[in-house]
Amino acid sequence: MKDVGKDNNHMNTLLAKERAADPIIGNVARGQNFLNGLLANRRIRGAVVASPLLVLLVGFLIIPLSNIVWGSVEGTKLNFAHYARIFSDEINFNIMLHTLKIGLIVTVLSLGAAYPVAYLLTKMGSRAFSIVSVFILVPLFTAFLIRTYAWMIILGREGPINNALIWLGLVSEPLPLLNTTFAVIVGMVHVFIPMAIFTMYSSMARINHDFARAAQILGAKPVQAFVRVYLPMSLPGVFSAGILIFIVAIGFYITPALLGGPRDAMISQQIVTQMTTLLNFELSYASSVVLLLVTIATLFLASLFIPLEMIWSSATIEPSNRKISERSRLLSGAKRAFHPILSLFEAFAHVVTKRVLTQQSRWLWTYTTVILVFLTAPLIVVVLLSFSSSPFVVFPPPGFSLQWWERLANATDWHTSFLFSIQLGLVAALFATLIGTMGAFWLVRTTLPIKRPLFLFSLSPLMVPVVIIATSLYIFEARIGLLGSFAGLVIGHVLLSVPYVIVVMAAALRGFDRSLESAAAVHGARPLQVLRLVTLPILKPALWTGGLLAFLTSFDELLISIFLLGRQTSPLPVKFWGDIRFQLNPLLSTASTLIVALVTVSILTAQWIRLRHEQRTAISASK
């Protein structure tokens, strides 16, 4: 209370016009004043806010990666023999080609399947949108491992597909669906469709449908309006989604390892095998560098056509009125050449689709429902299997029982894994949110001219294939003695989840009305008070979203944990990974069901928080 009196006094003296030098200012919480004073200096503030992020990225990504590159040529020996082995050895080279081929197929299929859904999402009412988006978000945030496990059941010898085919009498023997390239592709497409939908949706949502309407009133048939107006405007979004999927796909580990056969090995599996079983470190380094170079080349190519940050956060770049470059002149030349074919196609498509298109996009809804079923059915299979009475993975289950739930309730190894995962996730999310939020503040508000490259750099953990991050950190942490420690594990998880926090917070900060901070400051709030009372509360939904994303990233993370774990308790994904390969039983379904339920609940909660927040702070934007 004494403090209050002092502060009042302080305020009054401030307001009193005559007293020039105010002796009380120095008395009020001297420490805080010192901090406020420091924060008032823009450079110091920038350094304080930026350093955790920079230390993390340089110390635990750039340096380990440089070690790998250095190691791949055996340091100063500059021995390129390992690279030669990759390209001369037929097996190694074929693995490369196979990786690229799978990546391409999966990318094209995911984009094609997802485009109509993303398009429909832009046309939906807000209620329909929140329902449909839950059906996409739940698969999106369910661990790759669980989704892959579901496909192992579905495609298995006694899975629903084989059982149905036999029941229909179409085949007499179960088809070997599992451990084929087909299985890999189906599994990966299933993994990437939700990603494709949301990436494309977020850029397509900004395209005003009035453009297409305007085209129609000007005489374009619906097909023409779509092909000539909407589609070209949506292409950057499609392209960026494609790049995202491609670079994740070529570094993918879980799905090809579990669903593919021996001939379906992809480069990431090779890297892991070389490092962990064959102990051929240099070759695995070289493979890593090749994979990294392919990724960088892809991104470089992409950067010629779209601003790169668009791939991860569509909210950043507005298409500016670009100058007409050589390239686009070339494109328009090509367009002119193709024009007759295009017209023919349009006329044909118009005749074919005329009848369907008039029915208020019913066919789009039908298609979307099919995709949603495709996305959620595997999860439902997993849930149903958890109530199976059979000791084996048979679908449909022969009967109902709770035996697997009882088993799970008594399985202490699962309990400790679960608790450890939660603990790890919370700690990682906490640090990621802290570091990411500070970093986002710096990245958005810095006046440095290299703002854009810095932002891209901060997203680099998303660009580098996870398998490379995992192996390089493994080597690096072993060298500095962090390997196998909780801190070492947390660092790996934070590194992976920090970019998500940055993307979310940067978008929120860009939309943040800075006059609110000015208003707080002029009405007497010190920098820390502004942060605590105004900035952070308004950014709260974004903070929760970022934190949740970070938590889920850590909760789902497998590769980094495998490499950095040491002798600690296995987190859930590692436990899962171990069991899936040695004893495929319904207990995994039960554990998965629990996780799916948790994910669903957290997504519903997040949606609810977002809705409530939007209702309250639709802000003055409505006016």
């Binding site: 009042n8 307001l15 016009k17 008032a40 707080a520 002029v522 007497g524 008070q529 308004i538």
Partner: protein, 356 residues
């Protein structure tokens, strides 16, 4: 509690851009002063300098007798209404208004009392627990005003606060703001590009153009005796005709208007033989049929180009050689001149001034 504000040779550079030049201004305690200027003239920057969001590149600024150049915004004790109101979207009306007091850690009873008083002053006390987005634009404006005055600031800054309101509401809020200013006897600096707002509300108006204070004067002298062409054309409507000064007799001079007619006008420091611009307000110009005799010293012949009937008056555009003149005539039953009618326009010597 009102305080004076003095700006001494205040400068602000953005890189090589000189956005505020040589601001020398003394604002008296309790005065309502308006910064009036076109967009990009530097008026908002000047306001930011006063609020402390920007640091001046040179000069000094005194709030009362205390220099505030190095004082951060949160220690200046200034109230401010922002252009978009900047109400905190996550706080209720009460929390918003209480903000300046809570960050200063005022006692709860004091906060309650002052918030209630401020809300009563802006007639918003029944909206206490709403969130800003549940209020209309005019209501948000009132809350922003309440928040800015609740802690008895020494100075109140208003940055184009009426810009987002519709016309009727704007008229109403003008009166409200003036009432509240008088009631609190608070020093106000008001920024606008709208001359009507400036003329109605201000004790004095500081016209700003290209970063410079062009003229600081009360509404009437600004309107009737603008100091230069910019002020003349920016504040109210005006006719500016090229002219040359011939002879000078105690403050007035004989002039040649547009190279075709002789007249008499007040001078603003010109010497004989100098050319300038003859300034006359449209409502001070009479219009009569060609050939009618006039007692006015300045007479020009012309042809009506356009006649707009506006109800209480008619607005003529009259072509006189190369120049066009705007004439506003109260409608009191005089003859109406249709287009292409030859007319004579005339005005008295003491209604017009030669400007540089």
């Amino acid at each position: 509690m009102s305080t004076s504000l003095e700006m001494k040779k205040i400068q602000k550079f953005y890189g090589a851009l000189h956005v505020v030049r040589d601001f020398d201004l003394y604002i008296e305690p309790g005065e309502f002063l308006t910064f009036l200027g076109p967009s990009g003239s530097g008026k908002t920057t000047a306001l930011k300098l006063i609020a402390g969001f920007e640091t001046p590149s040179g000069g000094d600024m005194l709030l009362g007798s205390r220099s505030i150049v190095d004082v951060p915004p949160y220690e200046r004790g200034i109230g401010m209404v922002f252009q978009n109101y900047a109400l905190f979207p996550h706080m209720t009306v009460v929390e918003n208004v209480a903000f300046p007091l809570t960050v200063r850690k005022a006692a709860r009873s004091e906060v309650e009392e002052k918030v209630l008083r401020a809300l009563q002053l802006v007639k918003m006390d029944q909206y206490r627990d709403r969130y800003p987005n549940q209020l209309s634009g005019g209501q948000q404006q009132r809350i922003a005003l309440a928040r800015a005055i609740v802690f008895n600031p020494s100075l109140l800054l208003m940055d184009e606060p009426l810009g987002a309101l519709d016309r009727n509401l704007r008229e109403h809020m003008k009166i409200e703001i003036m009432r509240i200013q008088k009631e609190l006897n608070i020093t106000v600096i008001f920024v606008t590009h709208d001359q009507d707002e400036a003329l109605v509300m201000s004790d004095r108006i500081a016209v700003i153009n290209e970063g410079r204070l062009v003229q600081v004067a009360d509404s009437k002298s600004l309107y009737y005796s603008p100091q230069d062409r910019f002020v003349a054309s920016f504040v109210g409507e005006s006719n500016l005709l090229p002219c040359r000064v011939n002879q000078i007799e105690n403050g007035t001079g004989t002039v040649t208007i547009a190279g075709r007619a002789n007249g008499v006008a007040r001078l603003s420091g010109q010497s004989g033989g100098e050319s300038g611009w003859l300034f006359v307000r449209p409502e001070h110009v009479d219009i009569s049929p060609r050939g009618a005799t006039s007692t006015a010293q300045n007479v020009l012949d012309g042809v009506v180009e356009d006649a707009l009937f506006l109800g209480e008056m008619t607005r003529y555009t009259v072509r006189c050689g190369n120049e066009t003149m705007t004439v506003k005539q109260q409608n009191r039953g005089q003859p109406h001149f249709a287009g292409k009618t030859p007319v004579t326009v005339s005005w008295d010597a003491d209604r017009c001034t030669v400007l540089h």
